[in-house]
Symmetry: C3
Subunit: 259 residues, 3 copies
């Protein structure tokens, strides 16, 4: 049997059996599925962190990979389950914003999962009882018309940079990564006309940064510096340090960019 | 070569190479084995936590999956290594209670691993030197008569609910999960006659809970509530909170259930 | 398509998408690659820890397994990328000492990766843009002459035991593992003539240890004891405890061994 890759992203941690229950369920339905762990260490209920995590990796996966993303504080309530189909991939999970970057970057078709078509669904574990079977079936190419209806209203939390004046933009801290890099909501592809002559001055917590380096290693250990992150976002990094701790900043903090 | 799934559950953490040594050993003996990580983040030596973790996931895995479970504070001493065979699965690990839920729920045959048949066994790492090869060989269907003898005495730590009066039961906290849900040793399948008309009053640390909801999302954020967990156990949960922290409770705490 | 195993070892953590981006990139180039996670929980930039982790596991993996090891504080600077080929395996990563144990234990050929042959390389993420493709291509047996040139100078941090007198050696703490075992840079294979009659006295932080047991379980709970670790290094362990915490010691601490 030919089957696609199924990539798993959750906030379940791994000290419980919840991730494994999803894996077992998928393999029980589709033993040819090839499972890939993206992460199970997303902070509990942190939809924004999961969305950014997915944003930095999905692009590289083979055609037809299915991303099952279960950060789901609203499980069992009226929030919908959805499937997003792009030209390359499928995304399966709750309609709570976790696929915000996918809508922004890709053409797509969106479907609502018809929960009433599933049997024996625990109201606290749709990951195992709804999303896992959807992924297993998608991976083997089963027809899923019965389980899917088109949906229009998709949740998103993304903020675009706010143009404050000709040369000033209001940004925010989009993400802080494992190394403490502070990633801003300014992607080089979104402003192609500014890309060639990009001379930024970034203000965060009353500190100003204007040195745009190629990599953190270009400055002495401990020094803070602007770089493009590996996905194309502007970031404040610290060579051999943790910029977020040094600056005491968190996701959502306001940032000013002057060009 | 056709090979079964081998699912790995340990307390090794992943900052060392111990888990990878087991993976390498299995693949070195049986390159067709398909490895699945259940968890390596079980608390050091916490047999109860590992047993519960296994309990919530093994059921879903395909037929012939082999579960290698190495939480093994007694490694190298006289504790036995065992293989449990049920109608669907194999379980390989130390005889220290880590398979307690399996004996309780499944029909099984139990075997003692004949340690003396193995060569070059490190007294501190049976996971790599005994359990990994057993799993690799089971997965390829090798005859293992030489390595296995029937065993009778299996360790278990499970406590059944104590009936205190016609309508009162003494329970205990069986498990606290990643989200802080407090899971009790009352499974809905164990008391089928009480299932239809289940109106519980749970007392824990002098607090009483009687609202049985379908899911945590049914109550306001921060509120504590009774629900069935996704495996069928009664639990105290907190919507968007950590019930165990809020109540300051730990595994083994006494709980009273009045019906 | 026939493809080798690719084993991944990083300090990326898994709360970001960096590991998954590497996995996606490898599978995008070589969908037949079989990925194995060694660890992504190496402490940030801790080259020594990663080297030891690799040292305890690579030996067991099947022939032609490719180890991609990305602990890379110097990414984007002049540090080289390398490929080490031994009789059994390939190792891909930065030339910063992370393969120190491999050079010490194996015959090998070493190559410098020709970075200029790669396109669209992020200066902060060679794991995804250089090492992942190298591994994907090695796994499918592609000719890589264009990307590789012989290299001579390989970084290493390993210290050999210093002979202080006829019966005294200056050692250091090589590694502290997940269980708190204190592993010393004395491997039983390095001193075969001393192996049969090994009666050690180890001095660390003014405490002396001379009881060499087969396993920690041979002494009462809480007691400190010398044992051979499962890779053949001398270690100080504590039965059901954390020796490193109890002794307050860290990697690099000086140790005296008297025989």
């Amino acid at each position: 049997m030919n089957s696609s890759f199924i990539a798993l992203l959750t906030d379940f941690g791994t000290e419980d059996g919840y991730v494994a229950a999803m894996k077992g369920r998928i393999l029980g339905l589709n033993p040819g599925a090839q499972l890939i762990d993206i992460s199970h260490e997303i902070q509990t209920y942190n939809i924004r962190q999961a969305a950014f995590c997915l944003n930095t990796c999905y692009y590289y996966f083979p055609e037809k990979t299915i991303f099952v993303t279960v950060i789901d504080p609203g499980v069992g309530t009226k929030r919908e389950g959805i499937v997003i189909q792009t030209s390359q991939h499928y995304f399966v999970g709750p309609n709570n914003g976790v696929f915000s970057f996918v809508y922004q970057r890709e053409g797509y078709r969106a479907f609502q999962i018809q929960m009433q078509e599933f049997e024996d669904v625990s109201p606290t574990f749709h990951g195992r009882d709804v999303f896992a079977p959807m992924a297993a079936w998608l991976a083997e190419g089963k027809s899923l018309q019965r389980y899917l209806k088109p949906i229009r209203k998709l949740e998103s939390f993304l903020k675009q940079p706010q143009q404050l004046s000709e040369k000033e933009f209001g940004l925010e801290v989009l993400h802080i990564d494992h190394f403490g890099n502070i990633i801003l909501n300014w992607h080089q592809n979104d402003f192609p006309e500014k890309r060639g002559v990009f001379a930024p001055m970034v203000t965060l917590r009353n500190q100003k940064f204007s040195h745009l380096a190629a990599t953190f290693g270009d400055v002495p250990a401990g020094e803070l510096v602007l770089t493009w992150d590996s996905s194309g976002y502007l970031q404040i990094a610290q060579n051999k340090g943790c910029a977020a701790d040094t600056l005491g900043c968190t996701v959502g903090d306001e940032v000013k960019l002057s060009l």
